[in-house]
Symmetry: none
Subunit: 226 residues, 2 copies
DNA sequence: AATGAGTGTTAACTAGTGTTAACCGATTGG
DNA sequence: CCAATCGGTTAACACTAGTTAACACTCATT
């Protein structure tokens, strides 16, 4: 099991020490900073996978740091630790782009749970991005399909969405009407024929790897086999 | 002093009327809708600067509308009006991307204060803007686009605004009609073609970093991919 | 007032995308 | 084994978007 890089910002030495140590016993690699400026610097150098920021800190408060970080990276999860439990702070935290907040005092278990939840969420988002299918790599947001190390081929929007759904349901049946409603908005005759055309196009584009097949289940839908 | 465009969604006629009128005496231009669908439609055409959404509404509830709006614009401030004061709702509101909430009954003064706070904050966020996009740095107020350390290139007003909106919505769809209403004021044929020309110009100017792409989603809009 | 540079719109032509049509093969049930 | 239906494939078509250039307008300078 590999470690997870976490950046912790907490100015109170006793508390910081406790958090750092508890997290380290749970397989986190903790970089602990005690003020806002050091935290921001560490973020740029370290590229941690998740951040835990105290709101009240010397030099730069947690909100300010979070704002600067969000300008560079809008996906890394941020948890705020806040002494004041006022909703005003919560509101500000979320509006800056924080993903969760925890009011002091809190239990370590609580923190761990929040961390894992956020990591899980960002992992899901990331893996949803670049998909592996046989010898092909499919970058959904970029609509790029590449075979081995060859130059990527651009897919159209429709092709990309259809392929995405096929891959997400690989080795299981993808129901015709489900996908038609999802991508075309209806499941009438013409949309169905249009979809057939796209299946045909995808088959052609995936033909370099012969282990990949889009097979038809008559009357029900398609199945992408790897 | 110029007016501020505000979109209000409140199904209860008496309350809606009161809110609308009090805000109008305070220099707001209030567009008042009484159900979720009308609200969403009005948002696309009007591009208001701030939204006040009742949570319980016919056709589409406030949370659903907010979700749809966030898919198009992730910065316009949203205030929820909620009858239930449970924190569960509050958290849901925030996780959807709401910026503040107000539980009924509330005083007009309270609402006004919240509105001004949010406008203030979104104003601050906006003017602070030097944006990073791949290897490029884009200074929006100065309309300067620079590649790595090279000398900055000046963008025109239109180019800058379009790029700004693309970057603010990077990696997500930027709806044609939304951006046309926002920058051109209409979404007729000619404005649309004009916009295409600017997209073409921006593509050329962003071509030094090949990881950046402005991809088209036929019939819907553009997506800036980093 | 005349010139010219800069900006945005319109036009003209080209390229790309998705739908529809046409034709054919495959599968299924009687 | 045949008819009916479903799906496969290709091409034609309609429409949307990409690109380039011409045009119109504004504004500053002469």
């Amino acid at each position: 099991m590999s470690t997870i890089k976490l950046l912790l910002a907490e100015d109170e030495p006793a508390l910081g020490q406790i958090i750092k140590e508890s997290l380290e016993t749970r397989n986190f690699e903790v970089n602990w900073k005690q003020d806002g400026e050091a935290t921001f610097k560490a973020f740029k150098e370290d590229t941690p996978e998740i951040l835990v920021l105290d709101v009240m800190m010397p030099k730069k408060d947690g909100f300010t740091v979070a704002k600067e970080i969000r300008a560079l990276d809008d996906s890394v999860p941020i948890i705020f630790l806040t002494a004041k439990s006022q909703t005003k702070d919560v509101v500000e935290g979320f509006s800056i782009g924080g993903n969760d907040y925890l009011k002091k005092p809190f239990s370590m278990e609580e923190l761990i749970v929040r961390i894992h939840n956020l990591l899980q969420r960002s992992k899901l988002q990331k893996t949803a991005d670049v998909l592996q299918i046989g010898e092909y790599t499919f970058n959904f947001p970029k609509q790029e399909l590449s075979y081995k190390e060859e130059a990527p081929e651009m897919l159209t929007h429709r092709e990309a969405h259809l392929l995405f759904n096929l891959i997400k349901n690989k080795n299981q049946l993808l129901d015709r009407s489900v996908i038609l409603n999802k991508l075309w908005g209806t499941d009438d005759f013409f949309s169905a024929r249009s979809m057939d055309v796209f299946i045909s196009k995808l088959r052609k584009k995936l033909s370099k790897d012969s282990t990949i097949q889009i097979i038809n289940v008559r009357g029900f839908g398609y199945k992408l086999i790897v």
